[in-house]
Symmetry: C2
């Protein structure tokens, strides 16, 4: 059978499974999640063995250290994977909940009810835990999922997938609720992205190149999780102690993630007081500072920032610093260089705060808090499939509710239109 036919059959089977899954009770879906977690634990040995195969190949290919680290599974990581899957069972089922309900003058009762999206394609790179996470999140929200992982994690993903399918089948749901596409064939993704007859949504999880390629080729709607170029703006009316704590947390606590600060904007009115303090603190934390001209005039010896340092996602202990003129200057800088992810103001001036929160067009805007809170769990959503930088359908932390659509249920007693 040709690859195109194989992909088409997989997508069609997923669509059929999604119909059964959309009717499954919360109880049945939760039982499947528990079974999936149990099978992952039971297969720990097999998954580890598969992972060792991937790691041997990675070593042979000279895969970069950071990718090898992401690829590596341990017993503890598999246990954590199983825990995440099981934890979803305790969250509320987003399907069937009523967003709102109203009655029309003619007596029609209209309810907007949450329903699964249908079939979701996930295209991702090296981390094998994404396989279990995405399968579980989609199943919990009533969606069938078609997974396409990276070639470098092929054996690990296949072993995890085998365990998950056994759990699903054991719980009496169709195994096609979760399916996986052979990562070896480069044409497979292209074919999958044309399956708009069966797929309702594609979520690419990975670097910018992967996401752009998906957007370029997809007929299926895509929700993008692009980079996070997050800013903290320290206003002239900031409490300096608060500003230092927030900036250090946003930059240093976990610099390799998308909600970490990449550029610090300092109001000219406070620059002479604040910059020497924050630069000292950052350096004490091992952060390399790249400053604009005004920054370097105040803190001599600072490395000059290149134009390309603004708008850059360093994902490292590097920070671009720029002096700006008030909230207006900060908002203009963020409009030009930001990525619409997370941006914060530190100020005691409520009108400055209001203006920043209104004018900065990012998924999450903060006043007097660290950008590091942009996270489904920190928001209280219990889980997340990623942080959307799109403005269509889902924005910011994308959790179970964002994995649903809705339909209008209209009940009457014979109403017809005049």
């Amino acid at each position: 059978m040709s690859l195109l036919r194989t992909i088409e059959r997989t997508a069609k089977a997923a669509k059929e499974a999604s119909r059964a899954l959309s009717r499954a009770s919360a109880r049945k879906k939760n039982a499947a999640l528990s079974a999936m977690a149990r099978e992952l634990l039971r297969d720990t040995g097999r998954i580890m063995a598969a992972n060792r195969k991937d790691l041997r190949l990675a070593a042979a290919c000279g895969l970069p250290k950071a990718m090898v680290e992401r690829l590596t599974l341990t017993e503890a990581r598999i246990a954590e994977m199983a825990r995440s899957v099981r934890a979803l069972a305790s969250l509320a089922d987003p399907c069937g909940s009523v967003d709102r309900r109203w009655r029309r003058p003619n007596g029609l009762l209209i309810s907007r009810v949450r329903v699964p999206i249908g079939v979701i394609g996930i295209i991702y790179e090296s981390r094998p835990n994404v396989t279990a996470d995405c399968a579980a999140l989609c199943l919990k929200s009533g969606n069938a999922v078609v997974l396409k992982g990276g070639r470098e994690a092929a054996c690990s993903n296949a072993a995890i997938y085998t365990a998950l399918r056994r759990g699903i089948a054991g719980a009496g749901l169709p195994v096609a609720c979760v399916s996986m596409i052979d990562p070896e064939d480069r044409k497979a993704v292209g074919y999958l992205l044309k399956m708009d007859r069966y797929l309702d949504l594609v979520i690419p999880r990975g670097g910018e190149g992967l996401i752009r390629a998906v957007v370029e080729n997809s007929r299926v709607p895509v929700i993008k999780h692009y980079k996070g170029v997050c800013h903290v703006y320290v206003d002239g009316k900031a409490d300096i102690g608060k500003a230092v704590r927030i900036c250090v947390n946003a930059k240093v606590q976990r610099p390799g993630v998308c909600n970490a600060m990449e550029a610090l904007l300092v109001d000219r009115r406070i620059a002479r007081r604040f910059l020497p303090v924050i630069v000292g603190e950052m350096r004490a934390n091992g952060v390399e500072i790249r400053g604009c001209r005004a920054t370097r005039a105040i803190v001599p010896g600072t490395k000059p920032a290149k134009a390309s340092d603004f708008g850059q996602e360093f994902l490292d202990l590097v920070l671009a610093v720029r002096v700006v003129d008030g909230v207006g200057g900060a908002a203009a800088h963020i409009a030009e260089y930001g990525s619409g992810h997370s941006d914060a103001i530190v100020t005691e001036d409520r009108s400055a705060s209001r203006r920043f929160l209104a004018e900065v067009d990012s998924a999450c805007v903060y006043s007097n808090a660290s950008t590091r809170f942009t996270d489904g769990c920190q928001f209280g959503f219990g889980a997340e499939i990623g942080i959307s930088t799109d403005k269509i359908h889902a924005r910011g932390p994308m959790a179970l509710e964002e994995l649903t659509s809705y339909k209008y249920v209209v009940t009457g007693n014979g109403q017809i239109r005049d």
Copy 2:
């Protein structure tokens, strides 16, 4: 300047205008809508003259009669256009409203706030009133819009556009809130669809061919308004009087629109009693019936339905009729042949109704009411830009709220992440 550069400049100017528009007060936007309506009325003569040019060209090209009808403007139609624009001023502003607000254990206060999407591209065909409607809906919801109409309506659209811009400028908003792309150049749409740096959403309004071409070529997210293949299922436990009224209304009241019934499904248990009645009623209303084998056995002389008659959007006084086995048979038929638009059950059996409403995966599902109610105004939304058959972002009647996105506004007093 090359066409690509022209389109890019237009898109970029729209993005800048959208920033100013997103900060405009409801009052200012409403003043602009009133001014736009006023300028439309003032330019009635010029718009009519431009329309006559289009009509002359249409006659010379031998444009089909239905298209000429859609293209034709009269004083009354222009007055109606202005009324629709002005009516939006009295609707609530969707921007700034808070979907929900909650406090986290660490004291952070999180609000999900409605914001404009940004820049919306509308690609449409012959009706010139779409120009005014879409410009006004986008402006009201705080979005800049880039319009690309059909070549056959080029003069009419340009005249309407001129009037609208004068209104916008007079109200003190940037004219680039509404812009229009020369419909003469076929490459223009292709370029526009690559402007994902500036455009946030594209809505194609037109036939299936137009929509597919947009989906095929767009890097910008698309919300699709595909066809409506709507079904009414008459259950074994239906009230026959109600069923007749609903079916006749759904088919006959306005057969040329997307929420009209295209296929009637009749439960085998009631077919002998119901079919002769409904076929008689339909014929009395000038409807051509195309029946399945079982239908023809009960009502001899009925024209046989071809396989392609099911799933067909006739938009005419033609009805496909099929006998099915209960709710399960109806749901299976709709899953196979429906377009996910609007489908209804007629029954007095509450469990049959519940099952149908749950299992049929369409934007709007009805119990004991006509499918003709799928409409923003009938739902009480005041206006609509169309009926989405997508499941991402907006489904069913797409009104002002669906023309917005949201952002999370998070306020704290120095919170940092552990």
